[in-house]
Symmetry: C2
C-alpha cells in the first residue's frame, strides 16, 4: 500500500520545483520503462499493477492497485506501471555534426516530438535555452516515447553557447535560403525559436544563415508550420544523402 | 442574451451526430473566422464579445458576454468569437497531381495537422475513408488553423476509390523504397494509415508502391514517427524541385 505521503510526493512531480527538490521524475507505461533499462537513467522503484510483466532482479518492483495507479498517474488513461527515476546529472557532449538548438520552446508536446525526431535522425544532442520547457515534464516524457533516453539534453545560456560553438548557426525565416538548394555546412546547429515569438533578438544576432521551407499553397495566411513539423521537414532535407 | 436552448444546441455540436442533425459546426477565434469570409463556407451567425472587431455587413454579428462565450466554447481558454457555420455539401474534385488519402486516421490533432500540411504544400484535396475522424470536429478545425477552408475534404469508400483512380497509390512501410531515391510518378496518392493499426489489409492490396523514411538513429525501438510527421517529411521530398 502506498502511504498518503508517497502519493503526495509522486503527485508533486508534475512540477519542476518538486522534481528538483526530490531529485525524481516519473516514467509511465511498461513500453517506455523498458527503454530505461538500457539507458543511463537510474530507476529507484517501479510501481506496477502487474509486476510479473516486469521481471527484474536489479530494480525493486512493487505491486499497486488500479486505484493507486490512478492517483499517481499523470495520464487520462493510466497504463500498467509507473517508474520512479532519478534525474540524470547534466553533461555536455562535444558538439555533434548536426545539432538542434531550442530557444524558448514552451509546449511540452512540441519538445517531446522534437526529441523523438532527433532520435529518428540519430541526432545525439539538443542544446536548450534555460527557459525551454523541462524535458522531465511528464508530458514531454510521454510525447518523446522513450527517445529522451537516447538524446542528450543540455540547458544552458544560449548566447554564450552560440558565441563559442564552431558549428554554423542556422535559423529559419520566411526570407531564408530555400532548403532544397541550400548548401549544407559540415557541422551545423539548427536553431528553433519559441512557438509564438520566434527567436530572441540576441539569439538571432548570432546566426550565420537562415533557411526556409518554400510554401507551395496559395494561402496568403501568415500562419507558418508548427515548429516541430518545420524541424521534421528541414531535417528530412539535411539528412538527404 | 443566448437562450438556454441555443446554448444547448451549440454545446451539442462537438458530436458528429448533432452537427449533422442541425447542419451546423463551430469555428472559434477571429483569426480563423476571417478566413471563412473568403471561402465556400457559409456563416449563419457570429457570436462575439467584441463585435466591432468584426465589422461585416453580410453576416449577423451578435454581442455576447464573456460568460456566455465560456458556455459555448470548446476551448480551455475561449477566444473572442464563435462563428456558427453551415456544413458544406461534399463534392469530389478531379484527382489532383499529389493527393493525400487517409485510411482511418482517428486523432483530431493529427487530421488537423495533416490538413495544415496539405495547405502549405498546395494539395487541394484529401480523400478519407468513411471512418476517418470528421473534419468538422472542433479539435480538427482548431488544429488546422483555417486550412480546412482551402483543402477539399472527401469521405468515401476507399476500396472503391483506390480501385478506380488513375493516380499511382503509394503507401508507407518500413521496407518501402527510400524516399530520397524513389522516382516520383506524374500523379500519385500518398496513403496514410491509422495511428495504431496502419492501413487496412484491403487498402494495402490496392497499393502500387511503398516508400519509407530511412532511420538514421541507432534506436532498435519499433516506434515509428507519428503519422502527421511522417507525412510532412515525405511531402518535403515529393515537392523537392
Amino acid at each position: 500500500m502506498l502511504t498518503a505521503h508517497t502519493i503526495k510526493v509522486l503527485q508533486s512531480l508534475d512540477k519542476k520545483k518538486f522534481r528538483q527538490k526530490y531529485d525524481l521524475f516519473l516514467v509511465e507505461g511498461n513500453k517506455i520503462i523498458c527503454e530505461l533499462f538500457n539507458s543511463k537513467f537510474k530507476i529507484k522503484e517501479i510501481l506496477s499493477t502487474d509486476p510479473q510483466k516486469l521481471d527484474r532482479t536489479d530494480t525493486p518492483v512493487t505491486h499497486i492497485s488500479e486505484n493507486e495507479l490512478k492517483k499517481i498517474s499523470f495520464l487520462q488513461h493510466p497504463k500498467d506501471s509507473v517508474a520512479i527515476c532519478y534525474l540524470k546529472s547534466e553533461e555536455k557532449l562535444e558538439d555533434q555534426k548536426i545539432q538542434l538548438v531550442l530557444d524558448g520552446i514552451q509546449d511540452p508536446g512540441n519538445l517531446g516530438t522534437i526529441i523523438r525526431l532527433a532520435d529518428w535522425f540519430g541526432i545525439e544532442q539538443i542544446i536548450c535555452s534555460e527557459d525551454t520547457v523541462d524535458f522531465y515534464n511528464p508530458k514531454v516524457i510521454m510525447a518523446s516515447m522513450g527517445s529522451f533516453t537516447r538524446v542528450n539534453m543540455v540547458y544552458t545560456n544560449l548566447v554564450e553557447y552560440l558565441s563559442n560553438t564552431e558549428n554554423v548557426n542556422i535559423g529559419t525565416d520566411m526570407e531564408g535560403e530555400n532548403i532544397y538548394t541550400f548548401e549544407k555546412p559540415q557541422k551545423l546547429n539548427l536553431i528553433l525559436g519559441n512557438e509564438g515569438n520566434g527567436m530572441r533578438p540576441e539569439t538571432e544576432k548570432l546566426l550565420q544563415k537562415n533557411i526556409s521551407i518554400p510554401r507551395f499553397g496559395k494561402s496568403q495566411s501568415t500562419e507558418s508550420l508548427n515548429v516541430s513539423m518545420a524541424a521534421g521537414i528541414i531535417l528530412g532535407q539535411l539528412f538527404r544523402v
